[in-house]
């Protein structure tokens, strides 16, 4: 069995920043990602980030990703790509399908003193007649096709969902040369930032709020050729007679994301159900779960955005390194306090408050599950 001090599952923003922090402190870190290139969602973010200069506002996600890869290499992080963690087992054993060229793999077990799970999230689907038709995909999948693989998912796209993912991906599809035939949103108003919505509106994309997709009609080849949308009342019930047909060959669904938590369930980590994030693992201010030595960061803890994932990753990396003796308690605490302050700043404003409250709820639930106040 291979031995590593720290194994990080996932090389997205949270996993990479955890690996960089821990390796920077002196720990021997192995970071594993199932994709053939690291960086996770960062390499799909061709737009500039918002926020303060501490959070690299004005920098494109893809450039942040490149900087982080260089830093990980400098710090000596070992990276296994095209490799899949298929299970975590008692005694801190990590079962890995170690990829060699993306097709062939070998099963290996790695014993890790500390494990950091930064496995991200998966896209939600919406059930309508024909949602399994070829041409229907997640908005994130459509974004990967245009921004990473440089392939257009289709000619004319109907986007379902007007959160920031739906809005940004609609715009990026247009930049890639696709036509966005309609933006459809079940709620009475747009979900994402006004600045993104304005871009879509200016481009002349018809926006249908209080609507959903009723049916997708395939052509002879079985691919999407028409999309039927329908109006919704205040109780989100379909209003008969409001159906409208749109010609399109692609449907992108931007209906939110679900934290990827299977590995933590295997280890029997304590979970809670939170109205904002759904079922998520509990963690403390070290980002440690109810299982000692098992840490989490990023979307796995509840879906947010790249900057919060980066910061949570740093905390997890610092905590794991400190637990191994690479940082003094005082130094670790000082650095974590700084990061928590930055996280609080990121979680301000109309979109952030709900997430700040959710995070506080998770931290309190962890303390309660421990039967008292945890040390900060």
């Amino acid at each position: 069995m291979l031995e590593r001090e720290i194994v990080v599952v996932g090389a997205g923003p949270a996993g990479l920043s955890a690996a960089i922090e821990a390796a920077g402190a002196g720990a021997r870190v192995l970071c594993i990602d199932l994709n053939m290139r690291p960086g996770g969602q960062l390499f799909k973010q061709i737009h500039k980030f918002f926020g303060s200069s501490a959070h690299r506002s004005g920098t494109r996600g893809i450039d942040i990703g490149r900087m982080m890869l260089d830093e990980a290499e400098d710090k000596g992080v070992e990276l296994w790509l095209g490799s899949t963690v298929i299970g975590l087992f008692p005694g801190n054993k990590v079962g890995v399908r170690h990829g060699q060229d993306g097709t062939a793999g070998a099963f290996v077990t790695v014993h890790a003193q500390k494990i950091i799970v930064a496995a991200g999230a998966s896209e939600n689907v919406v059930r309508f007649d024909g949602w399994t038709t070829p041409g229907v995909m997640g908005a994130g999948a459509a974004q990967t096709m245009v921004n990473v693989n440089h392939v257009k998912p289709g000619r004319r796209v109907v986007m379902l969902g007007s959160g920031n993912v739906g809005l940004i991906v609609s715009y990026q599809l247009m930049q890639a040369g696709c036509e966005v035939a309609a933006l459809v949103e079940a709620a009475p108003k747009i979900g994402g930032y006004a600045v993104h919505a304005a871009k879509i509106a200016r481009a002349g994309v018809p926006i249908y709020t209080s609507h959903t997709i009723k049916r997708v009609v395939p052509d002879e080849s079985g691919r999407v050729c028409r999309v039927v949308i329908v109006g919704l009342d205040d109780a989100f019930q379909e209003i008969p007679g409001t159906e409208r047909e749109i010609e399109a060959d692609t449907v992108a669904i931007g209906a939110g994301l679900k934290p990827t938590t299977e590995l933590l369930a295997l280890l029997k980590c304590d979970f809670t159900f939170h109205p904002v994030w759904g079922r998520v693992p509990l963690h403390n201010r070290d980002m440690e779960t109810s299982q000692e030595g098992v840490y989490i960061a990023g979307d796995t803890t509840g879906v947010e955005e790249a900057n919060t994932a980066l910061e949570e990753g740093r905390i997890a990396g610092i905590s794991a390194a400190a637990a191994l003796g690479y940082l003094s308690e005082d130094e670790a605490k000082a650095r974590k306090d700084e990061i928590w302050a930055r996280l609080a700043a990121l979680r301000m404003g109309p979109f952030g408050e709900k997430r700040e409250q959710a995070k506080q709820d998770i931290l309190s639930a962890f303390d309660e599950s421990r039967g008292g106040l945890a040390a900060v």
């Binding site: 899949t84 298929i86 793999g105 070998a106 159900f273």
Partner: protein, 93 residues
């Protein structure tokens, strides 16, 4: 009682429809695991990663329950697909 969407696929890996899931609920399923045991929804290649939420939505609307009352999938290793050959050549955990 038939619904217009009874024919719609919910679990694409195992090709289980909304109607089959409603039938499982009529037969006594009260959570995600109960549905999975009766009709295999969530037992395929993706292990319910895609359909779990859809199954939860149907349970909630059929039984008048809230999302935190209908349970979640119980993952088993391997949580991602691996070929038998790759597993057989590896070491024992």
């Amino acid at each position: 009682m038939e619904r217009y969407d009874d024919e719609i696929i919910v679990c694409r890996c195992e090709e289980i429809t909304a109607g089959e899931i409603r039938q499982a609920i009529r037969e006594g399923a009260r959570d995600v695991t109960g549905v999975k045991r009766r009709v295999r929804a969530g037992m395929g290649l993706c292990q319910g990663r895609t359909c779990e939420k859809l199954v939860q939505q149907i349970l909630c609307s059929e039984l008048g329950l809230r999302p935190n009352q209908v349970g979640a999938s119980s993952p088993r290793p391997p949580v991602r697909p691996i070929a038998f050959g790759e597993l057989a050549d590896g070491e024992v955990v």
